[in-house]
Symmetry: C2
Subunit: 167 residues, 2 copies
DNA sequence: GCCATCATGTAAAAGGTTACATGATTTT
DNA sequence: AAAATCATGTAACCTTTTACATGATGGC
């Protein structure tokens, strides 16, 4: 379960409310680990119960700012140093292209170009996001990794479209 | 749900038993969409009930070979042409590196080098797998994509290790 | 006053992994 | 005869998504 350690890690960098964590998962962390608020709030409750985080402040609209406890900090360090990374991937673009080869030529081209446009739109979104982050921000490295992976997928899609021959 | 369409797509290429599908998910498809037999057999039952696949043969050890029905084929085509791709990514290496910056220098290097070794082991496994596949096999393109993505992650890890300065 | 945004939660359903369970055939 | 592989399934558990639900504050 990486959600737990992603939350611990974000709180280690900066004590935050659940709402703030949600925005970070939606933005900078979206290329590596995504989570919705409906996952984050229950996880914060479990972490608090386990003594890994604690409330360190209250904001105007009933918001609570959480921070790591020493136990939370050592659990995070332990995970980073001791646990084996989970390297499983999931990549719907790859699957779709593989299956698109089953379509007749005209529909195949249609499907591939649509997927290509989709990747490019996502890349544009990541570039925009990168522009709003200070370049030395560690978050920027996340976004950069997402962009590089998308670039590989884009290139691969282009190659496969080209392999189909001229229109 | 891409599992359903991955199964339909594999069966469109070649009628197969659940066991054969399991091996394909474990091997060639492991870089894009992974599934265990405990997911595949119930999915085949649901697809059969929905009239999208049917049993077309029986093998020696009680195995059943499934193939697409016309309805299954048109559902597959519809998904490829009409549905928007799901581009969400999950990449534990990226998350771990991001969080590794919280560690003191010596433990950080230790964690990064372990993750790097892990990526390289996986790449070696994919290269071995690629060597067993005929190069024109559409499956080979899947494995190739996985390798390219891992190469990007590897390069990115190396850069981040280098940024930490000499040992 | 209205709308956007901040802020938090729960419930139901879907998707996925791990573990349990069994038995047939083939290879050594 | 034993071990490996083929072959199928279910149950429990965990993770993730989608939908439901509510209310406060700030700017227009």
């Amino acid at each position: 379960m990486s959600l737990r350690h992603a939350v611990l890690g974000l709180l280690a960098r900066q004590p935050s409310t659940g709402y703030e964590l949600t925005r970070k998962f939606d933005q900078s962390l979206r290329t590596t680990w995504h989570a919705r608020h409906s996952q984050i709030y229950p996880e914060l409750a479990r972490l608090e119960e386990a003594g890994l985080v604690e409330v360190v402040g209250h904001g105007p609209r009933g918001s609570r700012t959480f921070a790591l406890t020493p136990a939370g900090r050592s659990e995070l360090d332990r995970w980073l140093v001791e646990d084996e990374p989970d390297r499983s991937q999931r990549n719907e673009s790859g699957l779709r292209l593989f299956l698109a080869q089953l379509l007749p030529a005209d529909r195949r081209r249609q499907a591939l170009e649509r997927d290509l446009a989709h990747v490019r739109r996502e890349m544009a979104g990541l570039r925009e996001l990168a522009a709003t982050l200070p370049p030395d921000e560690p978050f920027a490295a996340q976004v950069d990794l997402g962009l590089r992976i998308d670039a590989v997928i884009e290139e691969w899609l282009v190659e496969q479209v080209a392999r189909d021959g001229p229109r």
